[in-house]
């Protein structure tokens, strides 16, 4: 069940191409409107600490000219997410991940398939790094906002005009 939000705890906001971590067990980390991007949570259930990444593109080696942050890309962002939660005192062997986003336009085939590319990259990274991914809530024509509760690692998923889910 979602925690009681009558007195909402302080929220850390993760913008696009950003990551945030916290070891406050009452803390909440949120990212709005993932679109084709992926939002990934990393949680240490024993230390009740974790972090969230909001990555926009799959591959930092794809040669984009602008100097985007490492967190904008999945390959570098996932590595940094794991490192930052480890630096908080987390144990990488128990980290649990949840993956959200990667929306795609219903008629896209060759264009605007960034969502699909992101999902493919994340699947490859999960295999390569042997990540324990507990939730894949990805793809489809849905914009997603996620709130990550550090007290139990749950994620409240909001999609426009849909009932919220707690995963």
């Amino acid at each position: 069940m979602p925690p009681d939000l009558e007195t909402p705890p302080p929220e850390l906001i993760v913008s696009i191409g950003d990551l945030k971590e916290s070891k406050n067990p009452q803390g909440v980390i949120v990212t709005y409107a993932l679109g084709s991007c992926l939002g990934i949570t990393c949680y240490d259930p024993f230390g009740r600490m974790g972090g969230m990444l909001h990555a926009m593109l799959p591959d930092s080696k794809a040669g984009h000219q602008s100097a985007l942050a490492r967190a904008a890309y999945l390959d570098t962002g996932i590595a940094d997410l794991i490192q930052r939660v480890t630096e908080l005192g987390g144990n990488p062997r128990v980290f649990q991940f949840k993956v959200f986003g990667g929306a795609q336009t219903i008629q896209a085939s060759n264009y605007f398939n960034i969502g699909a590319k992101n999902i493919t990259m994340m699947e490859a990274l999960a295999t390569q790094l042997r990540l324990q991914v507990k939730v894949w809530e990805v793809g489809g024509p849905r914009n997603r906002t996620i709130r990550f509760y550090l007290r139990d690692g749950g994620v409240k998923l909001h999609m426009p005009s849909q009932p919220d889910l707690y995963l």
Partner: protein, 287 residues
């Protein structure tokens, strides 16, 4: 469940009653296109709308546009930023005030329509600069306005949205088609009718009427309409302010290819669209 269909002219008339109508925009565009327009003429025009001049100056001094010294008059701002940039600021203010009208529909959170429209505008501006086929400031304005029909529809027809939602989910069709099937018109037709009542130029009427289906636009407007079609999808990727209908918007990949808008080009623009929209939305709730 209501099945009342409001005739399109009545819907347009009701939507025109929303506060902060962008009636000044076509006059500004006319002056932008005139060769001999002066800063005084622009200032006089903007001062017709109380509050717009100060709002515009505030934006000129924002993190996105400001230099070392603040602008404290319109003349200062025009010297600093140039005439076209001032036009862009004024249009942003005019459109944002109208788009910020509260309306329930499309699963919007407050401010979503403005955030999404601004992201489309930034994408259209960048794409226009890259392709060199349409004036960037016109593309920017078109991006800001492209979804005005949705605001009108949400304002007047909110009780019908549950039926539209169910129809779209069942048929898995573009949301626009669901609107059309149930209401007899869709948000693009509403937008076209609305902009005609404000005497907007034909190119902007073409954008709001045909941006999901650019081939339907007249040949002389197709480059601009296609630019907005592409910018719309760029903005969808970023997700900012995207409502429940967003990812069901039609996509014509063949016209993008014909206009030289490649997937690689679009992907390469994403970081700049993100940076530009972030700066303009500074201080707003993200998303």
């Amino acid at each position: 469940m209501s099945t009342t269909v409001i005739p399109l002219p009545q819907l347009v008339e009701e939507a025109r009653r929303l506060p902060c109508a962008p009636w000044l925009l076509p006059k500004l565009m006319e002056q932008l296109n005139a060769q001999d327009t002066t800063a005084d003429q622009i200032e006089a025009l903007i001062k017709l709308d109380s509050g717009l001049a100060s709002d515009t100056l505030r934006l000129a001094n924002s993190a996105y546009f400001s230099g070392a010294m603040p602008c404290d008059s319109f003349t200062d701002a025009i010297v600093r930023l140039g005439f076209r940039e001032m036009y862009r600021l004024a249009t942003t203010k005019i459109a944002s005030r109208w788009l910020a009208n509260p309306a329930h529909g499309y699963g919007w959170e407050p401010g979503d329509l403005y955030r999404h429209s601004l992201t489309v505008a930034v994408g259209a501006d960048l794409l226009a600069k890259k392709l060199g086929q349409v004036p960037p400031e016109i593309a920017y304005t078109a991006g800001l306005l492209h979804d005005v029909g949705k605001l009108a529809l949400a304002y007047v027809c909110a009780p019908r949205f549950e039926e539209i939602r169910q129809y779209q989910a069942e048929k898995k069709c573009p949301w626009r088609e669901a609107e059309s099937a149930l209401l007899g018109y869709d948000h693009t037709e509403v937008a076209g009718a609305l902009l005609r009542t404000w005497s907007f130029p034909a190119n902007l009427i073409a954008v709001v009427s045909f941006y999901p289906r650019p081939r339907r636009a007249a040949a002389e407007h197709q480059a601009l309409v296609t630019c907005i079609h592409a910018a719309k999808h760029l903005a969808l990727c970023l997700g900012t302010g995207v409502g429940e209908d967003g990812f069901t918007t039609e996509l014509d990949e063949s016209i993008l290819a014909e206009q030289g808008i490649t997937p690689e080009l679009l992907e390469s623009l994403l970081p700049a669209v993100l940076a530009g929209s972030k700066k303009l939305l500074q201080g707003e709730r993200p998303g």
